[in-house]
Symmetry: C2
Subunit: 296 residues, 2 copies
């Protein structure tokens, strides 16, 4: 576990350096939106998605330098979705990772535009790098994979289902569909993009997809578990909010023990999916296990 | 003028058929966001931007079929910007083109997501078509042109400057910078994309850019003029809102007559920029003149 944490930190360093370099500078006095974008994107997070892009690229024999713009793009899209999610008309969250959320810090209108700006920047970044690259076909394929996953048939669709579920009881099946779109889609895109940039074959793409589906769902279940038994200080937010909001969760449907078992099974299934990559997939195996025993 | 109106209608028909075909169908119960996207994108508008894409493509000897996805993409981005602009935290407009604005009809949260969905769909569409095309290089160049123009250095930047200007007097220079970004950037991208898809040379690209800059500004000045002397029924909105909001406009700075003269001069400069295209640019010349004498 020590190794995987260290490797994570190495990847995060590479990603953040590039990610921050992509942020726009104000040229005509629009500083506040640039500041808001920077504020939200520098506000930590686990950077799981970009790490998945880079590691799958490496694992498939690709050059992680080439995968880096796509790793940054998925983090931009993830961050924009959090900014818009926190807005008063959505979840109305004042805090994000222990700091005031973007609209509290900069005002709703600039948070809205900062979100729009990050979504736009993700595509601007990928297209610019595609224009400067010789690997045009795989770059476009990767960018399209992300576009599809972040759209109405992917992440945005999941947010809609989440909103629609707010005042009704969800079935387990419905909950899984929602999470597959809301959080799963970007995790899948991340794993796939890494493989695509490395020109991996169909077998590896399918394995990556299977790994992604399993850790995506496990991740969400652990989130629900932490909302019941987590440490508020480690989480950077109070616990018990799901119960308070009468939200259907994996814990409310399955119970705490069953939810834990389910997450562990998914994590093991994720590890099994990596067989095709041989011995070299140790980092991803450990990562899948780590996601299940995480405290935040 | 009759010809240009007829030609406009022909283009609009082609654009709308394709545009509506790109709209996503709900696969997992996220119907409301698909409905909101459709509601806003079918709600008329002049479709100037897509028409410019197609006509510049034709004028440069290109195949307008190829330019069509880009014509649709710029209209998606224009429409998303209107949805987000109308939100309570922005301009708080209840009506758009004589109908309830998206958030009045569907609720703020779904309007927010419909806007995000349309921005995302613009890139999804361009990337999918690029993946299926042999003209990869020019397609990516066109998509990148739009991405840059709609981002923080373009349209979004203009919206920020507009928000920042709300309670202060703007200079003419500042007003021009704001409009060049807020409305000019997408008009420029439209003209350039048409040329890029047709593989036009540098001289034509520069002429298209000059035409775009001039009609973009003329268009905005005429908007300000119509807010003073327009017919509310034809406009589909009340007049006098700029004065009521103490907004700095071209009319408030230059006076009505001078503003009219300025718009006409810009329109003539736009026409002059078309010389390089020879006799074949009649439609675009008429369009530039038409934008100045329009009633809505």
């Amino acid at each position: 576990m020590a190794d995987v944490r260290e490797k994570m930190q190495e990847y995060i360093k590479i990603v953040e350096e590039k990610l921050f370099s992509y942020l726009p500078k104000a040229e005509n006095g629009q500083d506040i939106v640039c500041d808001a974008m920077r504020y939200s994107i520098t506000n930590g997070g686990k950077r799981i998605r970009p790490v998945l892009v880079l590691e799958f690229c490496r694992l498939c024999g690709g050059n992680i330098e080439k995968a880096l713009p796509f790793a940054c793009a998925v983090e931009m899209i993830h961050t924009y979705s959090l900014i818009h999610d926190d807005l008063p008309c959505m979840d109305d969250d004042d805090m994000r990772r222990g700091k005031p959320s973007c609209h509290i810090k900069f005002g709703e209108e600039y948070a809205l535009l900062a979100g729009d700006g990050l979504l736009n920047l993700a595509f601007e970044t990928m297209l610019k790098e595609t224009l400067n690259s010789d690997d045009t076909k795989s770059f476009i394929k990767a960018a399209y994979t992300l576009a599809r996953s972040s759209g109405v048939q992917g992440m945005i669709g999941g947010q809609v289902i989440d909103l629609l579920s707010e005042n009704s009881k969800n079935s387990l099946e419905r909950l899984k569909v929602m999470d597959k779109l809301k959080t799963g889609a970007l995790i899948e895109a991340s794993c796939l993009m890494g493989c695509i940039i490395a020109n991996a074959d169909e077998e590896k793409l399918n394995a990556a997809l299977k790994y992604a589906e399993n850790i995506g769902l496990a991740f969400q279940i652990v989130d629900d578990i932490l909302d019941v038994i987590g440490e508020p200080e480690e989480l950077g937010k109070p616990i018990g909010s799901d119960e308070e909001n009468e939200k259907t969760t994996y814990v409310s449907i399955l119970g705490l023990d069953e939810a834990k078992n389910y997450a562990e099974k998914l994590s093991e299934d994720a590890v099994s999916a990596l067989t095709v990559f041989g011995d070299d997939a140790e980092f991803l195996s450990e990562l899948a296990r780590l996601l299940c025993v995480r405290k935040k």
